[in-house]
Subunit: 352 residues, 2 copies
Amino acid sequence: MFENHNNRTELSELGEFGLIRHIRENVELQNASTIVGIGDDAAVIDNGNLRTVVTTDMLVEGVHFDLSFSPLKHLGYKAVSVNISDLCAMNAKPQQITTAVAISNRFSLEAIEELYEGILLACKKYNVDLVGGDTCTSPSGLVISVTAIGTAKAEDLVYRNGAEINDLICVTGDLGGAYMGLQLLEREKKVFLENPKLQPDLEGFDYLLERQLKPEPRWDIIEKFKLYNIRPTAMIDISDGLASEIMHICTESGKGCQIYEEKIPIDHQTRELAMEFGLDPTICALNGGEDYELLFTIPLSEYEKIKDRAEFSIVGHITDKSGGYNFIDRQNGQHELKAQGWDAFKKNFDSE
Amino acid sequence: MFENHNNRTELSELGEFGLIRHIRENVELQNASTIVGIGDDAAVIDNGNLRTVVTTDMLVEGVHFDLSFSPLKHLGYKAVSVNISDLCAMNAKPQQITTAVAISNRFSLEAIEELYEGILLACKKYNVDLVGGDTCTSPSGLVISVTAIGTAKAEDLVYRNGAEINDLICVTGDLGGAYMGLQLLEREKKVFLENPKLQPDLEGFDYLLERQLKPEPRWDIIEKFKLYNIRPTAMIDISDGLASEIMHICTESGKGCQIYEEKIPIDHQTRELAMEFGLDPTICALNGGEDYELLFTIPLSEYEKIKDRAEFSIVGHITDKSGGYNFIDRQNGQHELKAQGWDAFKKNFDSE
C-alpha cells in the first residue's frame, strides 16, 4: 500500500490506439466461444445458432461532451447511437444494451430522467432493449458507459481485416459535419460566457448541430446492403475521422490505400462554416470524427451496385501494403495520409 | 441549450434502488430474445441454444475505492470479481468480459498496466476472456466499468423471484469481513496522514484486508451445487449486505422472512475488530456489504443436502408476505429487518 512507481511512461506517449495495442498483447483468449476479441469494432462470441456481437463505449463529461450545450436527452441518445454504430460496422443486428451511469449530486432526478428519455428514445428507434446496468455516484461529473449486444449469422459478419488489393473504398453520407457542429457550439458558448445577454447565433447550421448532438448510426445502410446484395469485404464506423479509420482497415488487412480529395463527400453547410472558421473542409472531413458514417471496402467487380446510389461515395481504392497510405489532392499531388484524428489521449493530455 | 430545471428532486430522496425502479418502469422490452431485463443480478437473453447472461458494474474512484490503500492490481481484480459474482448469482457460467476505463493523466502507463494485470489475473482465475472495451481520458479520477457475459441452460438459471414459503434461507462463507477490512484501512490511512512516519498496523487482520481488497466470487459454490445436486429456488450475491439482499429476494418473490442473529456466520477476525471499533458484529454482517457471498433459498425438503456442509449456513426461512421482514435476536426478541446497507446514493450524497 501507499505505493510509488519509479518508472513513469506518460499515456500521451502511446495515445489511445497504442494503449489498446499494448493491452491486447497481454490478453490470452481461453474460451472456445470467443471468436474475436479486442481489435475490431466489436467482439464476436459463438453461441451455436448465431454469433453474439458485443461492444462498449464510454462518454465522460468534460472529455466527450459539454453539458452547457449538450442537452441530457441528446446525450443519452448519443451514448446509445455510438454503440449501435459499432454493431452496424460489424453488419450485426442490434438487440440489447446495458448502461452504467455515474452521476454527481449536481444532477437531480429530473436530469437523470431526461438522460434516460434520450437513451430509451434511441432504444425505440433502433429496436433494442435496455436490459440492465448500474447507477452510482461520482465525486464530480457524469460518466456513461454503454454496452451493446447484437447478433449476426457467422457468414454475414464483416471485419476490419478483409480488404483486398483493388477493392473500392466507400463511405456513406458526408463527413466533417459533426466536427464543424462542435466548433460552432464552442464558439457560441464562448460568446455566451463573455456576454450572457447575447443569444447564440446557430441559424442556418441545424444540420451540423444535429450531426454533433444527435448522431444517427447507419442501421439503414445495413438493411440496404441486404436489399442491394452488397457484402463489404471490410468495414468500420467513422468515429475518429476518415484518415484514422481507413488506416485501421489497412493495418488489419495488411494493405495500403489511395484516397482522393475530390471524392470525399462534404455537405455545403460543413464547407461554408469551415471557410468562415478559416479551416480546410477536407481536413475537417479527414480528421474531424464523430460522423458515425460507415467506411467499407467492396471488390471492384461490385462497382455497378454502388455507383449510382446517392448514399455511397467511392473515395479511393486499396493497394499493396508497400504502396503505403496515400492522399491525392485536387491538383493531383500525392501526400502521405496521416491520422491526426480525435485521439482521446493525445488530444486531452496535450491540452492539460 | 443552456437549459434550466424548475423542479428538482434530489437523487438522495430515492436512493439507488428507487432510481433503478424508476428507470425500470419506463422501459418497454421489444425484442423476443430478451427474456429478463432490469431487476435481477443480470439480464437474460435467449440465443437459441443456451441463454446469454449479461451484467454491468461500475467502480468510481472516491466512491467505491480509495487508491491510497487499494493497489491498482487488486482494484482491477475486484472490478472483474464483482461482475463474475453477479453471473454466479444467476447460476450462469462466466465466459467473456468487456472493460471501459476512464483515466486521468495522473496515471502513467505503468499504473494502467498494473490495473490490467489485476483484470487479466481475474480473467485467468475465472476462465473468462477480455474481449473488448473502451479506454478514454477523464478530467479527474479513475472509472472502471466492466460488463460480464455468461451462459446457462434455461432450466439452470436461478432468479430472485423463486423463493417459496418455508424455503430455507442460506448464505455461503461468512459476512461483515469486507466491511471491517475497509474500516481498518480507513483508520490506518488517517493515522498515516497525521503522522507519515508511523507504519500502518494491519497485522493479524490479513483475512479482512483480503475480503475488502480482493474479493472472490463464489464460482466454487456454483460447481458444488452441481456436485451436490442442489438447485436454489432464488439467489442473489451479497454486495450491499445480508439485510438488503434478502429483502430483494422477498420483494421479487412476494414473500416475507425470518432471519436469526445466532445463525449469521461471522469470522473471529471480523468479530474481534468490530469489538475493537465499538461496532456490533451482527450489524456489520447485516449491513456491511461487499462480501460477495451468495444468498439463496432452497426447499425445506433439501435440508439434508445442506446441513453438514461447512460452506453453507442456514440463517432463516421464508414466510408469507404478510409476515414481513423479521430479525430474531439472541434473546429471541423480534425486530423489523431494515436495509441500512450500502446504498450508493444515500450514503454518498448525505456525506457531501
